[in-house]
C-alpha cells in the first residue's frame, strides 16, 4: 500500500516537474498560462473530490469559495501590501471560515436540497463579489501587481511562478489524497454510502460533513489565491456558477471517489477546449456535452469507485425503502 502510494506521489511530482521542461522547449508564455490554469483547476477538482466524491455531498457553489480565496489574496495584496507567504494561507482560512458559517445551518439538509442550498450560497457570494463595490471593486475586478514574493525573493519568470504554483498544488493534492485514503477517508465514504448507517456506527454525521466541507473550501481558497497571484487580475465572472459546474464536471467525468480520475478529468476539461480553440470559444459547450455524455455512458466516470447514480442511491439509502409507502412517517 505504501509502495503504490510512493509510486503515485512520484508520478504526480514527475508530471509537475516534466511539464515545464517541455514548455521551455516551446518558449511561450501562453503555454505557461495553460499549465498554471490546469494546475489550479486540478486543485479545485481535487478539493471538490473530497466533499462530493468521497463524502457524497453535491456541492454546486464551489467556485464561490475559490472566489473568496482569490478576493482575500488580491485585496490583501493590493490594498494592504500583504504578500504571498501570508496571503496564501489567509485566503484558504477565510474560505474555510465562511464555509464553516454556512455549513452550520445547511448540513442537515439532504441530497438535492443541500445541493440547492450550496447553489444559493454560491450565488450570494457571487453577488457580493459583483456588488460590494467598496470592497471588491465590483464588476471591474481587482488588480494585483505584487506577484509572488517568496521570503524576500521576487519570483518573476514564468518558470519560477509555475514551479511555485505546482509545488503548492502538489502539496495540497497530497494532503487531500492522504485524507481520502485513510481511515478518515473511510469515515467520509461511509457518509456517502449510507449516512444513517454511519451514525449507527457512532460517527457524528453532521460534524464529519462540516469538516469535509470546510477542508474542501480551504483548498478552494488556496486555489483562488494562486489564481489571483498568477494572473494579477480577478473579476466576479471568474467565480460564476458556470465555474462551479465546470469543476463538478471534472469530478463527475473523472469518476466520483477517484482522485487520479478527477485530476485527469480536470486536465481533460482544461486542455481539450484549449486544443480546440481554433474552432471558437466552445469551452462551455464541451463541458455540457462531456458532462451529459459521461452521465449517460460512463456512469462511473473514467476511473470512479462509485457510479454517479449508484452513489446517489446509496447516499439516500436512509429512507430508500420507506419512501412512498410511509411518506408521512419517515424517520426523524
Amino acid at each position: 500500500m505504501s509502495k503504490s502510494r510512493l509510486i503515485k506521489t512520484g508520478l504526480v511530482l514527475a508530471a509537475f516537474a516534466v511539464v515545464p521542461a517541455v514548455l521551455v522547449g516551446f518558449d511561450k508564455g501562453y503555454y505557461y498560462q495553460i499549465a498554471t490554469l490546469a494546475a489550479i483547476f486540478m486543485l479545485l477538482a481535487a478539493s471538490l473530490h473530497l466533499v462530493t466524491g468521497v463524502a457524497g455531498l453535491l456541492q454546486l457553489g464551489h467556485a464561490a469559495f475559490y472566489g473568496v480565496g482569490a478576493y482575500v489574496a488580491a485585496i490583501l495584496g493590493a490594498d494592504h501590501g500583504v504578500g504571498f507567504t501570508v496571503g496564501l494561507p489567509l485566503a484558504g482560512l477565510s474560505a474555510a471560515a465562511i464555509a464553516f458559517l454556512v455549513a452550520l445551518p445547511t448540513m442537515r439538509l439532504m441530497s438535492i436540497y443541500f445541493a440547492v442550498a450550496t447553489l444559493a450560497i454560491g450565488q450570494m457570494l457571487y453577488l457580493v463579489f459583483l456588488n460590494w463595490v467598496d470592497l471588491t471593486n465590483g464588476p471591474n475586478g481587482v488588480m494585483l501587481f505584487s506577484g509572488i514574493n517568496l521570503f524576500g525573493i521576487e519570483i518573476e519568470s514564468d518558470l519560477g511562478i509555475y514551479y511555485v504554483v505546482a509545488a503548492v498544488v502538489a502539496v495540497s493534492i497530497l494532503v487531500l489524497n492522504r485524507l481520502s485514503h485513510s481511515y478518515y477517508g473511510n469515515a467520509l465514504r461511509s457518509l456517502r454510502e449510507d449516512d444513517q448507517c454511519a451514525s449507527a456506527m457512532g460517527i457524528n454525521v453532521t460534524v464529519m460533513k462540516i469538516q469535509a466541507f470546510v477542508i474542501s473550501s480551504f483548498f478552494a481558497g488556496i486555489a483562488g489565491a494562486l489564481w489571483a497571484y498568477t494572473t494579477g487580475y480577478i473579476s466576479p465572472n471568474d467565480f460564476h456558477f458556470s465555474q462551479s459546474i465546470l469543476i463538478l464536471t471534472m469530478v463527475v467525468v473523472g469518476g466520483l471517489g477517484s482522485l487520479p480520475g478527477v485530476l485527469i478529468g480536470a486536465l481533460l476539461l482544461i486542455l481539450l477546449p484549449e486544443a480546440l480553440r481554433s474552432v471558437g470559444d466552445i469551452r462551455n459547450i464541451i463541458v455540457g456535452l462531456v458532462m451529459f455524455g459521461s452521465i449517460l455512458f460512463l456512469p462511473k466516470g473514467l476511473f470512479g469507485e462509485v457510479s454517479a447514480l449508484n452513489f446517489a442511491r446509496r447516499l439516500l439509502g436512509a429512507n430508500w425503502s420507506n419512501d412512498e409507502g410511509q411518506k408521512g412517517i419517515g424517520w426523524k
Binding site: 485524507l179 485513510s182 478518515y184 469515515a187 461511509s190 451514525s199 449507527a200 456506527m201 439509502g317
Partner: protein, 252 residues
C-alpha cells in the same frame, strides 16, 4: 443479574396509530434476548426507538442505568449499543475491510489532523480490530473485495462483523435470518449463540419464530404494538394470546 437495557412505558404514535404502545421490559447483562412479533407488530419501530433513530412519543429507554431517550443515534452507539439493519445496509462501494473499519473508527474516533500527521494513535487499533472481526466471521479472504460483490449471506456476516468492531456491550440484530435458508439459519444460530457465550448481550429482533425459539433465553412478543408475552420460550410457545397473534401458531 443487573439490567443492561430497560424500556419503561415506551410509546410511539404516528398520527392516531400507536405503532408501539406502552412497552415495558428489560434485558439483563449477558442475556440472549428475543423480540418477536408478526409483520407490522411494531418490532422495527421499537428497535428504532431504542437505537435513537426515532424519538418516542412517551416513555423512556435506560441503557446501563442511564437514560438515553433523546440522544442521537451516534451518541447511543458511543454508549456501547450496536445494531444491524433489517434490509442489509453494508457500504457497497467500499471494500470489506473498509466496511468493518468504519465500525471501529466510529467508536475510536478519527480526525483529519491525526490522519494527516504521522500515524493516527488509533490507526493500529482500528486495523487490528478490523482484522480480528474479519477472522471471526470468516471473511478475511475477502478483505479487499467490494462489499457489493459479496454473496447475500456473506454480506449478512459482514454487517454483523462491522457491528462487532464497535466492541458493543449490547448487540441488537434486526431480522438477521431474513432471506436465509434453513442450513444458513442453523449456522447463524450457532454463530450468535457463540457470541453470547463469549459474554456479549444480544437482542434478537425476529419475524421467524424458529430461530428465536431455538436460541433465546427469554422472549418478548409484540402484537399491534403491545407486549403480549414476556417469558422463556417454552412458556411463550404455549401462550394462547401468542398463538392467536400468529394465527394458528408457529408453522415456521
Amino acid at each position: 443479574m443487573t439490567a443492561i437495557l430497560e424500556l419503561d412505558g415506551l410509546t410511539r404514535a404516528f398520527g392516531g396509530l400507536k405503532a408501539v404502545d406502552n412497552v415495558t421490559t428489560r434485558v439483563d447483562h449477558g442475556e440472549l434476548f428475543g423480540l418477536i412479533g408478526p409483520n407490522g407488530a411494531g418490532k422495527t419501530t421499537l428497535f428504532n426507538l431504542i437505537s435513537g433513530f426515532t424519538p418516542p412519543s412517551s416513555g423512556e429507554v435506560r441503557f446501563k442505568g442511564e437514560k438515553i431517550t433523546g440522544l442521537s443515534a451516534h451518541q447511543i452507539a458511543h454508549k456501547g449499543m450496536s445494531r444491524t439493519f433489517q434490509n442489509l445496509r453494508v457500504f457497497p462501494n467500499m471494500t470489506v475491510f473498509d466496511n468493518i473499519s468504519v465500525g471501529a473508527l466510529g467508536m475510536l474516533g478519527v480526525g483529519p489532523f491525526s490522519s494527516l500527521f504521522g500515524r493516527s494513535s488509533h490507526a493500529k487499533e482500528i486495523s487490528e480490530r478490523s482484522w480480528e472481526m474479519l477472522e471471526k466471521v470468516g471473511l478475511a479472504d475477502h478483505a479487499d473485495d467490494l462489499a457489493a460483490n459479496l454473496s447475500y449471506g456473506k454480506r449478512k456476516y459482514l454487517e454483523i462483523a462491522r457491528a462487532l468492531a464497535m466492541k458493543p456491550d449490547l448487540l441488537i440484530l434486526d431480522e438477521p435470518a431474513a432471506g436465509m435458508n434453513d442450513s444458513e439459519t442453523t449456522e447463524l444460530a450457532r454463530f450468535i449463540t457463540g457470541l453470547n457465550k463469549e459474554g456479549l448481550t444480544i437482542m434478537l429482533v425476529e419475524h421467524d419464530m424458529g430461530l428465536v425459539m431455538g436460541i433465546c433465553e427469554r422472549l418478548v412478543v409484540l402484537a399491534s404494538g403491545r407486549k403480549i408475552a414476556d417469558d422463556v420460550p417454552a412458556v411463550v410457545r404455549q401462550d394462547p394470546g401468542v398463538l392467536a397473534a400468529y394465527l394458528g401458531g408457529d408453522e415456521e
